[in-house]
Structure formats: C-alpha cells, structure tokens
Assembly symmetry: C2
Homo-oligomer: 408 residues x 2
Amino acid sequence: MPNSIVVQKYGGSSVANIERIKKVAERVVGYRRKGHKVVVVVSALGDTTDELLKLAHGITESPSERELDMLISTGEQVSVALLAMAIHKLGFDAISFTGAQVGIVTDRSHTKARIVDISADRIRKELKKGRVVIVAGFQGINPDQEITTLGRGGSDITAVALAKTLNASSCEIYTDVEGVYTADPRIVKDAVKLSRISYEEMLELASLGAQVMQARSMEVAKKFSVPLHIRSSFTSKTGTIISKEVKAMEEVLVSGVTMNKGEAKVTICDVPDRPGIAAYIFKDLAKADINVDMIIQNISRTGYTDMSFTVPLSELNRCKKAVEGVAKKVKAKDAIYNSEIAKVSIVGVGMKSHSGVAAKMFEALASKKINIDMISTSEIKISCVIKKNRAEDAVRALHGAFRLNKKH
Amino acid sequence: MPNSIVVQKYGGSSVANIERIKKVAERVVGYRRKGHKVVVVVSALGDTTDELLKLAHGITESPSERELDMLISTGEQVSVALLAMAIHKLGFDAISFTGAQVGIVTDRSHTKARIVDISADRIRKELKKGRVVIVAGFQGINPDQEITTLGRGGSDITAVALAKTLNASSCEIYTDVEGVYTADPRIVKDAVKLSRISYEEMLELASLGAQVMQARSMEVAKKFSVPLHIRSSFTSKTGTIISKEVKAMEEVLVSGVTMNKGEAKVTICDVPDRPGIAAYIFKDLAKADINVDMIIQNISRTGYTDMSFTVPLSELNRCKKAVEGVAKKVKAKDAIYNSEIAKVSIVGVGMKSHSGVAAKMFEALASKKINIDMISTSEIKISCVIKKNRAEDAVRALHGAFRLNKKH
C-alpha cells in the first residue's frame, strides 16, 4: 500500500561495489515511485569488515572490543553515504545516518551489543519530508556515547528493530540468494524455494547451519512478530516470507533439510555414573565458554557411562583442555575426539502433529547405508550425526524421502 | 615538564600502514614514560581520503557535501582505533574518540566547517585516568548532530584547537619532512632547516605554496597563540618552532624562498580607465567565486589601462568565462591568459625594518637574466611573477643572494 513504511536491508554482497550500489538505489527509488516511505538499512561494502579486522589483527592478536567497534562501524558508514549519493543521482531525496544519529541505543557490551531502545524521531521527521532514510546497520551507541556493534547478523537486527519501531508494513531482507530453500541447491539439484516458513523453523534452520539469516536476528523478529521477506537483490522475484506459524504450515510435514559440517564430537568414556555427574561436567565446560550442542548419555549398566556431545570445530582445541581437566576430576577413563562428523537435520512445524517422521528419516539414511552416530530431537526438528563424507548423500536422501521437491 | 599536556598530530603519511602506526605508538608511549599527558590527533591512513572520494565520484560527479562528510570522516575513525590498539599492545592505556564524542562542535557548513566550540571534558576525564587520548582529526559535529569535516589541513586545526582548549604545553605537528626549510631542499641543495619562524612568515610561506602546513591551520594557531613544533615522525630530531614574532627573528632579513607554479596570469587589455572600474571587475569575478591573488594595474596615460591578476590554474577555465563577460561589459579590448608563469617569493619579518631587500631581489634575478613580469609586496614578503621554466633557477639565485645556507 502506498504511503506505508517499507524497511529494506541490503547485505554486503548487495553493495559490494559501485555498480551494485547503483542497482540498490534504483530498486529503492522504484519503491518511492510507488509512494512508499522507504527506510534502508545497509551493511558494509563486500568484505570491508573482514579487511578492517585484518588491519586490527596486524596490530595485535587481541584488540580491545571497544576499539574494534570504533573501527568496524566505519564500514557501514561508508555504505550509507554512498547509497545516499546514488539515490540523489537518480533525482530523489535521501539522507544517511549512523546508528548513533538515529538513536539506536544498545547495552554496554561491545562487538555483540543488544539494542535496548530506538528513538526513531529523526527518521520519522525525514520520512515526512519525503526523504529516503538510510541507516547504517550493525551499529548503535551505548548510554556512555560509545559506539557499539551488534555482532554477526547485526544489520538484520537493525532492520527488524526499525521495522518494529516504525510499525513498517514490511521488512525486506535482500541477500544474494532468492530465499529459503528446502535444501542447499548446490547439494540438492531439485531443491525448491519455500514461499513461507515460520520463525521457529527458520530459527532451527539458522542454528543448524543454513546461512541465510543468523539465529539472533530471527529471534528478534519472532519476539516482535515482524514478518520478514527474504529475497534477492539481483532479481525482482518474490522470495520467502518468514512469519508466525499459520495453520497451513502444519500441513507440511518437513520444510527443509540442512546440514552442518562445523562441529566435532567429543566422548568422555567410562565416567563413574553418579547423580549430578552430567551437571558437574557441563558446568565446567560452560565455565571454559565452550558452546556445547547435542548431548547424549548412554544408559549405564556397569556403573560407568559414556558422555558424548558436539562442539563447534573452531572451539575444539579450547575444548580439549577443558575436557582433559574435567575427565581427570571425575575419574573418567578417557576422552575421544572426532572432527570427521556432520549433522544432518530435518525441520518442520508439521512434525508436532505427525508421528513416524523420525522413523522415516532413519529409514532413508539406512537405505543409503549411512550409519547414525547420535540422534537429537526437538518439537520441530530431528538431527542425526553421521560421517562427514556422507553428509551430501544424506541431505539428498532425506530431500527425496520427504518429497520436498514436490511441495510449496 | 612531566605531567604537562602534549598535543601531537600525525599526518596521513605518518600512519600510512600498520608498521608506521606501531612506530607512532612507540613515540607516544615514550612521552607517557616521561610522565606527559598525551593527546594524539590522527589523520586518515595514507591516501584513504582520496580513495573514499574516488568511490563517491564513481557514483556521482557532484556528491552532496553532507554525505561526503559522512563518508570521508570514516578515514580518521579507522586511524584512531588502530592507534589505540597499537598503544594497548605496548601495555599502555589509550582510548580513541570521534570528533563528535569529544564535543568538537562546528558551524553548519559541510566539507569546510569551522570549529565553534570544544567541550573537552571527556578528554580531561580520560587524561586523569592516565590514558592516552586519541582524537580523530579533521572532523566535528554541528548543532544538528550532523558529522562535518574541516577541509584541507583539518587535522592540524583539530590539534591546534585542542592544544588551546587544554592549555597544552606544546603542540607537535608530525609530518614527513623534518621542519620548515629556507627553500625546497629538492630545488636548493644547501637549503637549511629553520629552527624558529613566526606565524606571519609561515602564513606567507603556506599561502605561497610551501606544503608543510595549510594557511588556515596557521591562522588558527596564530589567533590562539599556540606555538607549533613541526617535525618528522621518522626521526627524533627537533624540527621548526612556529611562534609569535620575537625580537631575534627581526635580525634575519629573509627567512625563506618559495615558489608556486599553480597560478595563471590574466590580463584584461585596454580597459577604459574610469573611477570604480577595478571594483566593478573584481566584484564580478568574486561573484563567480574566483580566488584572485596578485593584482597589477598599470598607470594609464591614454585613458585606457591594462589590468593583470593571477588566479589558481585549477580555476582558469571558470575564470575565462567570467572574464569574457566582464571584459565585454566594461568595453575592454581583449583578454590574454598565460599559464606558463611561476611566482617566486622571499619572506621574512626582518624586511619590515630593513630597506633594500626588494632591490637585492630584483638584482639577483637580473643577474640570471630572469625577467620579472609582475611584482607584489607585503610587509614581510616580496613576490615576483616570472616565466615558469626559470622558477627553479630563480629560487636558487635568491637563496644564494640572501645567503640563506649560512643562517639559523
């Protein structure tokens, strides 16, 4: 509807160079022509953020987080200014702002701050003047006037929070893919774009390794019930709408298949099985700031049990230290590490009301002679840990078994 | 003296890369070790500003000045964060700030704003904590919370203004030359570094084309009587002190010889000589925003006069248009343009109290058969316009004639 506020977020690949910035400007102007009020949130150009981080790490291996925020927040400031110029060039009025200038107030933590308040008065004032408002994503300012950044997926969070604050009619997240697919199209040739998916499903997909949106930004969208439209900045095709669960969604048993090769499996062997032992072990790992994912404890019949869990590959070295310590303390026999694993998962809100989904999954994997190492389930997700070199086979088998190419 | 506040400004070449930033950090830490409180003003890394401008001009030939400021102010923000990290790495406490964060308030003009107020409370607070305070040069914030930049030489202005506000004991301007010389050492082999020079002389030298400091920042230093120490960031040698004129300076007849090849000469021929004609012509040129430098009007004996003046080469095309218009209006015969000129000048406060300096200058040029085209004088400067291809010869002749290699 004309005169409604549209929030659009463009990721780094959408503004990777001058030509792409001009394309974004044309798209934005198209919305203005239709009478919409447009608020644009932009990420840093291409891999600017990584280049800035490289500079920082050329100076010190452990840069201060406050100074990191000072440094990397410049990336988005460059983007917003350039996009404003590109929109001016098309004869439309536009104005760019830093997070601080539009009052995106965060808590005091650096490099992963949380938005606590947005006073969008300045934005409303500029929209009233007929201007396109361009806001630097990923950044804010804390109560001490320090520049903060929101961490991975931060620009998405900025867009969602602005859409909520401005009561926008839509929040479009532009990226380099056309939406959310039933599986990674690079692995499954007949993967299908989903027209609609629930926050919960997308959250599982995000945390399971589908790289479309970060789990944190999905959580914010869900919390504020902001419907998202994930779409490509290179085409005009409709993408995938992420919204609250609606009745129709439940008819779909499984929405997508995903895999994650970024974890390793740790097994602490022959742990004396006494009450509280799991709590003891995982409290120790938490203290070491290890993100434990799946946890499996076998039934003990001998008074000893094996405790298995997965951790991010990137934390494995740090994890080994902590595990060695705790294994000694609880008098476990040994610890085994396996980084040659992958996690394949199926996700779907329909699972809640359907039985037999797990059995069908296991059957599909068995039919391809893929051995299952660990299993973990939630209301809308089933994950299996398998050998890393069978991950792609597994995704294809599951995509076929649940006939995902036929749906949506 | 320990515990006194030292303001240091490092230009783009001093922080062109990671290694140089580390060197600057070491120098700053050296001052901290001696007990000084240090405030550092930094320019953007190397040619960052030019690269950002190139991006802008890739989008539009006439970018909005507000958005330009948004864009190019990021350069200094990157430098301050990196320098803070480099100082941390050496085990010292430091904190970086944008112009906005330390309350450098400017007027509302963009790309060449003027500082109207500095509320340095935050800086004083951080200095008290024993921190090195690093401030982004060249930038400020206006009363509407818009980011502004101060124009060419802006970081020098930031340093001077902070030195004044903080009542600093010294203001050191680090650059890639060792100080101010009697002439450009690339032209005159035995040019000598001046140990001391007055604001007035440096102002003339700056506006005459010596590239050490911009005239605008000199004016600010003079206005606030902030003594400057121009020195190299690559050596520990003392540089040149720029301060108020002191008695000893007057004993030096000429402090330096300089040349400027960046101007063109314009002659409006056979202008009817009537009262107010010069005012009429130059008001018209001023309206066209042409920076006229030297103006010579010959004595009229025929009722007609020639009006000559110099303009920056970069404005010559624009100037031609304006001149053509005004020449027609005043019924002048013709206009002649000459871009093959150079201006050579000698500067020295001693001139005020010595006579014969001009004669000596003309004689030195005549001895090398260098023809003088225009002459202009001020209290502490004499400039001659000559042929461009004789400029270096002229500088060497004047340097020798005034025995500048023997002084200071």
